[in-house]
């Protein structure tokens, strides 16, 4: 399943790249993109565990860029 999320206060392009990298490493994530320009995140992950994966995504993002909020 593919889902898009809006991001708020994503201020640095390098952090976006780091977030993308970190999210891709989460188990069950097939693909992920974090677009600094569009302030959007697309996550393609396994259906069954999507909610758990999202929790991890939020945690990972908070680690990389604490100011950035994911709008669910």
């Amino acid at each position: 399943m593919k889902k898009k999320f809006k991001l708020e206060d994503l201020d640095c392009a390098n952090c976006a790249a780091k977030m993308e990298d970190a999210i891709k490493k989460i188990d069950g994530v097939n693909d992920a993109t974090v677009s600094f320009l569009a302030q959007k995140m697309t996550i393609d992950a396994v259906d069954e565990k999507f909610d758990d994966i999202m929790k991890e995504v939020v945690a990972v993002c908070a680690k990389v860029e604490p100011d950035c909020k994911i709008l669910m």
Binding site: A13, F36, K63
Partner: protein, 616 residues
């Protein structure tokens, strides 16, 4: 932020002036001087320090905040208090500029993508109600007032208007729409009120599809982009390690002079953020894709834009791409009767057939057919039709059919399909039907050659004579005819093998039967309005208005985009390495280092935005 910068600036100026006036007297050389300088430093830089600590706690060490903090702390450490404040101040000013530039570019991108309709007018109990296009069911009649954006694809049921399709196709001449015409979402209605019965739900409508394509475009990254991301991963740690070495090794080896080397190391730290590249390279591609979509060409990813700039061979399908895909009667050669009679017999004989050739003959006849005159029609695929018209046996078909029926004929050599007409065993004559070349197709080939496409190849399933007639008219370099869809894939592969490194092949088709070729080619270009959904899905580039002339414009846009991206890479890396080198030798100061960081970012962003403004 602006206030913080101003306050800091005033405070800092006051401190420097009082220092110069020797107002501090004896303490001006001692550690006490740190205290007055700490005030403006903390005002301007407290958030950076906070963020740096927070990120270290989260295991993110090498970020900008941390590097700035270390650099300025080190400046304090070597008693260069004013420099610590200046660096922080300058950095924040740069960040402010940078976020302004990014905000501006985001704005212009979103303005360009502003084709999303906000509401649809639906009539409810005689009153117009504005609803979310998402909630409109297929088959609902919506009302589009003058000047409004068409929210959903549909068919006009009432009214007449001019429709501005510029947002989708880049075409500035408005298109007329009246009852029975298809209208496409995302276009703007002109001066008339239209009632439209929707044929698609919002998520399937053209506008939603386009927005999705453009938004997803950033996920398919160009080689250059991937290179930059990989580069950035190594750049920061390497420069930071360089800084540490620079601070420790020379003083240990040569002895003494710690302060001087620490200062030089700080310069390294300030330059170690790769932000200028990480922002400006994707932004340049985004701009290029935006510029292309403004002329009605959708590019599905920066990697394809990059590939288009390296395109040297273009392979084109004939029917529907170079030609209209509509058959027309172009010539009639009666042998033993008038042209009208020849056409009348043919039209009646083909009256029941759905073959494109039959349709074009009926169209050429133009009058109403009295089908009671026709009986006993049998169609043999690959041959033609045998039928009784007014009780007489009529044969309509190709040479093979005539030979089979022992009818003598002089074969006609022409570029189209020939239908021979015979009545009661005697040839009446023949009708030539051919596909007409699209307006501007020849121009498109010429323009493509001008922009550096070396080889234009035409592949078609049609007969050799027809293919060569069209190919020569257009000036194609190679023509391969009588191909099955699988043969087309073979030819594309063969042509790809002839390419050198860094040369790319594009295939242009309308998508009917050629989805496999579209996928196989380096760049698959499909016709948007005529092409099938499957083709648009399989293609990498979509021409919204089916105008092949746009391909040359796209090549220009892609080249310009690549130039801008390369300029940014060379400029940003050049400045950074220069300042690194000067810094190591002691010839650069902090000011230059901050410029090499944020200043370069701002300039690169402004340069990248030029990609969005490329004219065709």
């Amino acid at each position: 932020m602006l206030y913080r910068i101003l306050i800091t600036f005033v405070l800092f100026l006051a401190l420097v002036i009082s220092e110069k006036q020797n107002l501090f007297g004896d303490i001006s050389d001692s550690w006490y001087m740190m205290i007055p300088f700490l005030v403006p430093y903390l005002i301007i830089g407290y958030d950076i320090i906070l963020k740096a600590f927070r990120n270290i706690k989260n295991g993110q060490v090498f970020d900008e905040n941390f590097l700035m903090m270390i650099a300025t702390f080190a400046a304090f450490g070597v008693k260069d208090f004013s420099e610590a404040v200046v660096v922080m101040l300058f950095y924040q000013v740069g960040e402010l500029f940078q976020s302004y530039a990014v905000g501006k570019s985001r704005q212009s991108i979103s303005e360009m993508m502003d084709i999303c309709p906000e509401y649809a007018n639906v009539e409810e109990n005689g009153e117009l109600v504005q609803v979310d296009p998402d909630d409109v069911e297929v088959g609902t009649v919506i009302v589009i007032k003058p000047g409004e954006r068409i929210p959903l694809d549909g068919i006009v049921t009432e009214g007449e208007s001019q429709i501005d399709t510029a947002a989708l196709t880049g075409e500035s001449v408005p298109r007329r729409a009246s009852v029975g015409d298809q209208v496409v979402s995302g276009c703007v209605n002109g001066s008339g009120i239209l009632k439209v019965r929707t044929t698609k739900a919002f998520e399937d409508s053209t506008v939603a599809k386009i927005l999705e394509l453009v938004e997803n475009a950033s996920s398919k990254k160009a080689k250059v982009e991937n290179f930059i991301t990989r580069f950035a991963r190594y750049y920061t740690p390497v420069v930071t390690i360089g800084a540490v070495l620079l601070a420790i090794l020379p003083p240990l080896l040569t002895g003494g002079g710690w302060a001087q080397w620490i200062e030089r190391a700080c310069i390294f730290l300030v330059i170690s953020c790769p932000c200028a590249l990480v922002i400006s390279v994707p932004l340049g591609f985004f701009g290029g894709i935006g510029a292309a979509s403004r002329i009605g060409v959708l590019v599905k990813g920066s990697n394809y834009l990059e590939a288009v700039s390296e395109m040297t061979t273009i392979v084109m399908d004939k029917t529907g791409t170079l030609t209209r895909g509509e058959f027309k009667v172009t010539k009639m050669c009666p042998t033993d009767c008038s042209e009208e009679r020849l056409l009348e017999v043919a039209a009646l004989g083909e009256g029941y057939s759905n073959h494109p050739i039959a349709i074009s003959i009926r169209e050429a006849y133009g009058k109403k057919l009295d089908m009671t005159r026709v009986e006993d029609a049998t169609e043999t695929a690959g041959h033609g039709i045998c039928v009784k018209v007014d009780g007489k046996k009529v044969l309509l078909g190709n040479e093979k059919l005539m030979k089979q029926e022992n009818i003598h004929l002089e074969p006609v050599q022409t570029g189209g399909s020939v239908v021979y007409v015979a009545e009661e065993g005697k040839l009446l004559g023949c009708i030539v039907i051919s596909d007409t070349v699209k307006d501007g197709a020849a121009e498109a080939i010429r323009e493509m050659k001008q922009v550096g496409v070396k080889k234009c190849v035409m592949l078609t399933g049609d007969g050799k004579a027809a293919a060569e007639a069209v190919g020569e008219e257009l000036g194609m370099d190679e023509i391969h005819a009588e191909l099955l869809p699988a043969d087309k894939v073979d030819w594309v592969e063969r042509l790809q093998n002839q390419l050198k490194d860094k040369q790319k092949l594009a295939f242009v088709g309308d998508g009917i039967n050629d989805a496999p070729v579209l996928t196989r080619a380096d760049i698959g270009i499909a016709m948007g309005s005529m092409g099938s959904d499957a083709a648009i899905e399989a293609a990498d580039v979509v021409l919204m208005d089916d105008d092949v002339r746009k391909i040359a414009s796209l090549v220009k846009i892609s080249r310009k985009t690549m130039t801008i991206v390369r300029e940014n890479i060379v400029f940003a890396l050049g400045v950074k390495f220069l300042v690194l080198l000067l810094g190591a030798l002691g010839a650069a100061n902090m000011w230059e280092a901050v410029f090499a960081d944020v200043g370069v970012s701002v300039i690169a962003i402004i340069n990248a935005m030029r990609a969005l403004r490329i004219k065709r």
